[in-house]
Amino acid sequence: MDIIDGLTAWIGLPEWLQSWVHTGSSTLILIVTITVPLMLAVAYLTFAERKLIGYMQARIGPNRVGPRGWLQPIADAVKLMFKEIILPTNANKFLFIIAPILSIGPALAAWAVIPFDDGLVLANVDASLLYILALTSVGVYGVIIAGWASNSKYAFLGAMRSAAQIVSYEIAMGFALVGVLMAAGSLNLHDIVTAQSGNFTDWYIWPLFPLFLVYFISGVAETNRAPFDVAEGESEIVAGFHVEYSGMTFAVFFLAEYANIILISTLTAIMFLGGWHPIWDVAPFNWIPNIVWLLGKIAFFAFFFLWFRATFPRYRYDQIMRLGWKILIPVTLVWIIVMGSAMFLTPYGDFFH
């Protein structure tokens, strides 16, 4: 920071421009310190996925590039960067190129309000839960526009499936978050985490267990991961909405998908598993730094995403719609009513706080 301030003063910029440069550059540095580790985590999540699914299927997985295959993600990135981006005939060029950006933009922008530790957050927004909900719902545009701009039947089918699926599961997801904000009494993610401070018994996973299940299932559906991956169902519509994409444009879709996996895992950890709080607030556990606890919880949920993919067969389309509308949404509604009545009509309201 001081270096940049000194530099702008030395060049002789006017006073107001100096303050702009100061805020701009300090925010930019913070953004980079979040985004670069995130992108690395995404790269190694793809590696973890291939390795883990390999072991689950009794094979070894990638082990050629680097020691035990550890350089595989780097090799993949280099390969994708140097491949040609092919534009399909009669595709809408502008929308075709902008679709992957629309897909990764919200996935990264949501990280602005994620608290990593007490006070360690880029922007402590008051309505951060709403902000997260709004941004995750905007991510669907990348998929829809990609499907339409590709001028391909398979891509279009994938986009249509994805749009219907994401809009339906967003409702269940939103209702699950209503329970969280009722329990915490705040839309601020930092306040939600501090409301769960203490031991693991104070985490919201216990009083909000049905909502936790609904949230995580809808999170898997929102990221278009198996068993909800009808948007790209390989055996039916080749690769779905990104069938026409190649090279870096395809890689950006891939990055967005895995960034969303980590985002959903983080949000689940923050809202239901006490965020950065240790499992037990006594000596050997609270020696470990808070951020390590948060990262451990994120890794725990990210593992579930990979596990699901190796375990469950893909849902049929009508089964997806039935699960979303007829099971998950009624469960959340009933639990919100139970919570509200317990809080205001019975003396057991403390259970939910």
């Binding site: 709403l130 709004a134 905007v138 749009a163």
Partner: protein, 201 residues
């Protein structure tokens, strides 16, 4: 001109541009996307007014849900662009009348003593601890609770009416009964026959 004013002009300029493009651009999908851009800029303007709840809800509801369904429908329609532009002259008088009326009403409101700049001073700024969401919720669930509940009831009735008006049972629809699918056993679908081997003819 301070930074806030600059932001205001950027957002409102983009808003007006996007709104104009919505009604002038030929491609319906692009028109819908320009409407999304217009919503985003309106949300940004609300953020400048410290109404963050309304701003984020606008993005959440209109951009995240309504416009997705809009795009969904527009993409599936096979719209004939030439036909769309046919009735321009026919609708011009009534459209023009509506436009002139709107313009007049806006002029009345903006020039009247009731809504002049002296009557409506700039709202006072709030400190950092002020929560727009909390204040809105408090007003909505205490002072305006009956209007709010009545509005909710009307919306529910509208949803049920829309569904019951448009839903028709078709005999050709292949309906699946999940309970029946789960109850099915292997012996219902599969028959294992034991038979002696036969010589090749």
């Amino acid at each position: 001109m301070n930074f806030e004013q600059l932001l205001f002009f950027v957002f409102s300029g983009t808003l007006v541009f996007a709104a104009t493009m919505v009604i002038t651009i030929r491609n319906p999908v692009k028109a819908a996307l320009f409407l999304v851009l217009a919503f985003f800029n309106a949300a940004a303007l609300w953020l400048l007014l410290e109404a963050e709840f309304l701003a984020i809800t606008l993005v959440l509801v209109y951009v995240g849900a309504v416009m997705v369904l809009f795009l969904f429908v527009v993409m599936m329609l096979d719209i004939n662009l030439v036909k769309l532009r046919e009735g321009f002259g026919e609708y011009l008088p009534i459209g023009g009348l509506v436009g002139v009326l709107l313009l007049m009403e806006m002029a009345i409101i903006l020039s009247n003593d009731l809504f002049g700049l002296e009557r409506m001073p700039e709202p006072a700024g709030h400190d950092a601890a002020y929560s727009n969401t909390r204040e809105l919720g408090r007003l909505l669930y205490t002072f305006y609770v009956y209007p709010f509940e009545i509005a909710a009831l009307i919306l529910v009735v509208a949803i049920i009416a829309a569904i019951s008006l448009t839903m028709r049972k078709r005999k050709t629809t292949k309906h699946q009964d999940p309970g029946e699918q789960i109850r099915v056993q292997a012996k219902d679908r599969l028959r294992i026959i034991k038979m002696p081997s036969e010589r090749r003819p």
